[in-house]
Assembly symmetry: C2
Amino acid sequence: MPEAEPRAGPISFDLTPEELRQLGAELVELMADAIAAERSEPVLRAVSGEEMRSILDEPLPQSGVPPAEILDTWRRKVLPYCRRNGHPRFFGYVCTSADPLGMLADGMASALNQPVAAWRSTPAATEIERLAVRWLDQLVGFGGDGTGLLVSGGSSANFHALACAVANAEHQAGLPAGTRNRLTVYMSREAHVSLQKAVRLLGIAPDQVRWIDVDASRRMVPAALAARIEDDIHQGWVPAVVCASAGTANTGTVDPLVEVLDVARDTEVWLHVDGSYGAPAVITGGYGWMAEAFAGADSLSLDPHKWLFAPVDAGCVLVREDAAMRRAFQLDSEYTEVTETEPIERYALFDRGLEMSRRFRGLKVWTVLKARGVAGLRQAIEQDIELRKHLDGRVAAHARLEGLGSELSIACFRYVPEGETRDERITEVNRRIVETLNREGRCYMSPTTLDGRYCLRVCIVNFRTRKKDVDFLVDEVLRIGALAET
Amino acid sequence: MPEAEPRAGPISFDLTPEELRQLGAELVELMADAIAAERSEPVLRAVSGEEMRSILDEPLPQSGVPPAEILDTWRRKVLPYCRRNGHPRFFGYVCTSADPLGMLADGMASALNQPVAAWRSTPAATEIERLAVRWLDQLVGFGGDGTGLLVSGGSSANFHALACAVANAEHQAGLPAGTRNRLTVYMSREAHVSLQKAVRLLGIAPDQVRWIDVDASRRMVPAALAARIEDDIHQGWVPAVVCASAGTANTGTVDPLVEVLDVARDTEVWLHVDGSYGAPAVITGGYGWMAEAFAGADSLSLDPHKWLFAPVDAGCVLVREDAAMRRAFQLDSEYTEVTETEPIERYALFDRGLEMSRRFRGLKVWTVLKARGVAGLRQAIEQDIELRKHLDGRVAAHARLEGLGSELSIACFRYVPEGETRDERITEVNRRIVETLNREGRCYMSPTTLDGRYCLRVCIVNFRTRKKDVDFLVDEVLRIGALAET
């Protein structure tokens, strides 16, 4: 460690009000630039790993630099190399365009700097978070009392739900905490990888995961689920949780949720629905049927930062029983002792989740729900689904394009060169299409592989996307495909 | 679900450039208000649970409201009921005053809205995060290559470290993944509750935790640790991880880290150091000795949002071996397949942690390190330690005050009425002091209980705090104590 420098009076990192206002004004211009770039800039500028590192790398700063230099670095070296997930032709993942009001709310949250651990420390932030969770609960028809938590995203929401389910299973079966080698978990291969990661972290061995068969549309087969659970019970296993998907992130697949719920109820196994992406579609006409399953589930994941247009770092886990959350997460200590007796005041979010100091995520979620209302969100979601249907139509109408399934606002298809039947050659052409498209930066999509077939995957979760953008994408696929074909 | 409304053309949540700039200007005023409130407002305004709820509660909004109404709600209903952790006389927890430049950086991160999952999706944000982690590694003398991750805070950092340690222990012992019933974990009762929570979540039973004795200064006794590990090995247990504290959040206690490291090395057990609060003190003269232990540890938690003055939601876990992180967190799936071959470009943060979509935490951490440099941070940290020593002096000098131990920038003491020896009566008076102080809002502190004695706990992690603020607190304690005494 270097020697201490001579000290010259007290140090403060405060800015004068004038400095703060001037830097604030520059920040607003940069925020406006960042939002404008979502339309005007390439979706992702081509840069190599070495180039990016050479632009940013430098030794640990020994002395500070003036604020102007900091903002200048954001402008010149960071902003240009950000992917624009809000670009009208970003079709890559279920990463949405964020509501600009949500972005401003998130900036406000940073200035308020609340560690949202418990009511006693952060009354307003805790109440806003609890209100936002109650609203989300009502929005999707979970029908709970708002028991749940805002977390960083779907992976964390799924982890929290499974932690609750597993602690609950131990409790119900009278097993001592931490004896997980008799528990079993049920999901299909289409389930999000974060569920498998959660299982592993919770100390459940891979061979305790039961992979339930899917049908030709990649949906879990309820009869296969029922049979496997019965068989496991018969053999002395303790089924802990069934994980169903309300819209997989890969293909948008929605499991037969009501039938899966029936199986879970009959066998008395915890049902977790991963609706991280798809749950908000329940407010649209075509997917209202999902509410019946949500209302019966024991836990549900849904990400406000996916199809509710909040900025990144806004997931939500809803849980039916508060006791289940506390069983998984509450630990008594001097440091976390709650002496308040009034129910609102004694509420501690850290007793319901992994985190202690938690970001004030509630403000942006509250803001998006308040600013747009159910009606606005429904319109935006329906618009995305309509665009996916428009894409389906374009694919169906063109001889070179082969649809491989679509659901919610995700469509998978591939380009098939004339008369080509060799999968290897088809894959090569489609790989070329993705690489060219993404490199040119006017569109962005991600590939996937379905039943061994490499294909193009289009996610539409964007209030900026229009028919002309979808048409542009299809035309580009056809143009590049034709070039690759020759 | 309500019926769909008639649609009238495409919906967008975009603001016009003029709207965005006008709302942005209002946001800056609100951010400035929030920062100014850290000096001018009560630390925490008294409000009851019922009052707070009645101010904020309302039904799920069916239609949206104009942006002006949103910002007005932030101003009138949220801002006044936030605790000011940056207030010069906030002594409650290790919640620091945040660097205003860090707040602006965090606002910028919200506008850039990068889901920092992997380099291929977010080149600049991934590189900034990796650079910030390398800088933190160098700052504290971990001596690694920057293997690690920014996470939400200390609880998450500790969870990540223990997940790595546990997966590593399984691997080393040749146990199949998920057979954790032979693993043992070592910590003292002074260790942060999040470590115990992590153990529970990882599926390790409470009776597999070995509570190692502490000395009169609450420091882990290395000989007791060594004896217990040897004994466990002898009995066929697999010691997985030793958790040592570099500054507990309760009392600032620093375990004898070098001696603990020796034990861990001799027994070949993973050493995790929880330096969430205290690790940055290694850059000051008095605590430079900790670097030797950090350089030998297998993992280290440190929170930039604690004593490095970043806004909330900035923890960091450093891990010696990248393979250990991947062993705990990497799962292969179609969705997470990385096809890039160049090492920088193929780096996936989601293979090293729980989260997939991750907030762009790197920007604020980079900004604080770049804007202040090691020199500025050292001055701020030393200043806090000096203020704690000043407080020690005031306590030692006054007959009514009894010091109960202090370390780093935390001091514990209590007011003892003249001639009083009954603990119950002393507790009553000190309880009254805390309640009165916090209710009056000019100071804020939190109590704790040490060896059964209720006492006042003062944390100084604030670049705004001065001697006069510490003196104000002591004078208030004496004033209220004298009143309570009578």
